[in-house]
Amino acid sequence: MKVFDYLVIGSGCAGAMAAQTLVEGGVQVVMVDVGVENPDYSTTIPNKSFLDIRQNEPEQYRYFIGKEGEGISWGQISKGAQVTPNRYHMTKLVDKYIPVQSSSFSPLESLGYGGLGIGWGLQCWEYSNEDLERSGLDTTRMPGAYETVSRRIGISATKDGASAYTIGGLQSYLPSAKMDRNNQQIYKNYQRRVKYFKNRGVFLGRTPLALLTKDKDERKAHQYRDMDFYDDNYQSAWRPWITVNALRKKPNFTYIGSHLVISFREVKSHVEVRCINVETDKLIVLRCKRLILASGALGTARIVLRSLGNNHSQLPVLSNPHAYIPCLQPSMLGKGVEHQKLGFGQLSIFMDTADDRRDLSIATTYSYQSLMMFRVIQQIPWLNLKEARLILRYLMPALIIMIAQHPDDPSDSKYLKLIKDSKSPTGDALKAHYVLAPEVDKIWENHEKQIMSVMRKLQVYPVKRVHPGHGSGIHYAGTVPFSWKEKSMTLNPSGRINGLRNVYVADSSGFNYLPAPGLTFSLMANAHLVAENVLKNA
């Protein structure tokens, strides 16, 4: 009977960071993952700029609309609106193996190689001390963990008027990438009236990104090709699979793909882990001395509910409420194509009107060019496609998509449970219920109105506000929360599941609060700390 030393579940941001810490600690690590890859598209996209491709590549339809047209989506903006055909494999097999039933919550999950990190927007905000404390994270060790993660993945950032909100005390970072002209103009407009904005609790700064602006090992600095939504050529953007690929070259790391972990059972000397092989649908049992769950907050919730719950068990869930706000910046009208451009979000606006760093909202700005006209043309109201095309050609250089995000606290009206589902090979589905209290909804609506008012003062004019539904913001946490008490299905501060000796959770499941700035940097730092705790407790 083979018993592995350390078993990490999942190859996403948390799994990659936890595994790297364990491997660097010198122990034998096995990663179990479904790991869907993309054999169709991964080598299709040439190393050319967006403009060059648009002008000259006859096969461009393969990655812009998908060879089966899968990138053409009719209807309202929904979850994963920014995901392009080249990255669709991140959601392959999800409906079959990890179905969700809900009328109020519409999450995006991944069984891909690299998890949700495949399509991550690279934003790496540090949580403030207040946010760390409310989330239940270790305020003394997290700053060091942020440094470790930043050195590993390469973060580009700028110290500016908002760096207290963006990078906090982070020391290890590269210079930010060059902003596109839309963002440059917003930045300039903000700087002109910086006192006015700061007095009103509005802080605007460069968004820290997991993006290289200098070469690092085999990865190259960003090339400004404006193909960031489509490819990972040059690997300047960090994706979890980059780390996992590097780990697979190490002698003390083994990767087992095509396996979905269903549940675990702690026995005397080891942990038994039940998995389903997604190629054969056969069940197998793996054994390990220590198990580290990093399947994402929803994936971990399923595994914990199956392993420790009963028919009535339910777990809390957190997810950032959010809205898309398309805007126009008139000074950019008719500017034509921008040749050298970065596609990622580049500016962050923090609304801290109470000036207490509590419950602040954040908005990030994206210039719209490489996502193609067809994705946005349906949003033009009351106009046929021909006239809409003619108008959009002029408006597109001035089009900015803002994403506003708000924090989330646990409540009785947000929970997950497992229900029977005979169609799924696992025999169950996750039932999600997510309803915000009307007074909370009102607060976020006011914040969004304030953000829109700030944009107008920055000479950027919001056109409308779109709420694509709860859960579609792709940030999930709080399903197996940190607790000082030995409560079932909670974590102790070291990340170990209370009541168990050898099962840990390294993803965002433990967070007791979900601040507005994206959680990815913090969940990676936490994953590193959990892995350190596992090594320490061995």
Partner: protein, 136 residues
């Protein structure tokens, strides 16, 4: 009962839609892609939708009016969804990149923007009348 669509119908639709959207004939690849994507599409085309499609196949001049009218009376119609598919296909062909990439122009172009908006509105009124008159 309205006859079902053949590949000839789809080819004709591709041509009419392309001429309408970008004033150009579709290239071979976009015609075959349109056929493939529309045939694979799970969209259920009702008899009413088929009637509408046959109408524009026989009266290609009407496509601009019908589509503009549909925006108000049946925005989810199969005709608009297929036009949208054709638009996405054309946008991803190098031959038509100039029709979709941002246009460099002065603020005076705003006059054109207003004109396109008004033209779209007038077309919509005429389209609604046409749709009602022919019971499309």
């Amino acid at each position: 009962m309205i006859s079902k669509e053949t590949s000839d119908n789809l080819d004709l639709q591709a041509t009419i839609f392309s001429r309408y959207l970008v004033n150009k004939l579709p290239n071979k690849l976009s015609r075959s892609l349109y056929q493939k994507l529309v045939s694979d599409d799970s969209l259920i085309v009702s008899d009413r939708d088929l009637k509408l499609l046959h109408f524009v196949e026989h009266n290609p001049w009407s496509i601009g009016l019908v589509e503009a009218g549909l925006v108000f009376v049946r925005p989810e119609s199969a005709l608009r969804q297929r036009l949208y598919i054709m638009l996405a296909i054309l946008e991803s062909m190098p031959e038509y990149h100039k029709d979709f990439l941002p246009k460099e122009a002065s603020y005076l172009y705003l006059i054109n923007v207003v004109w396109y908006g008004l033209r779209g509105f007038v077309k919509a009124i005429m389209g609604i009348i046409l749709i009602k008159a022919y019971r499309l």
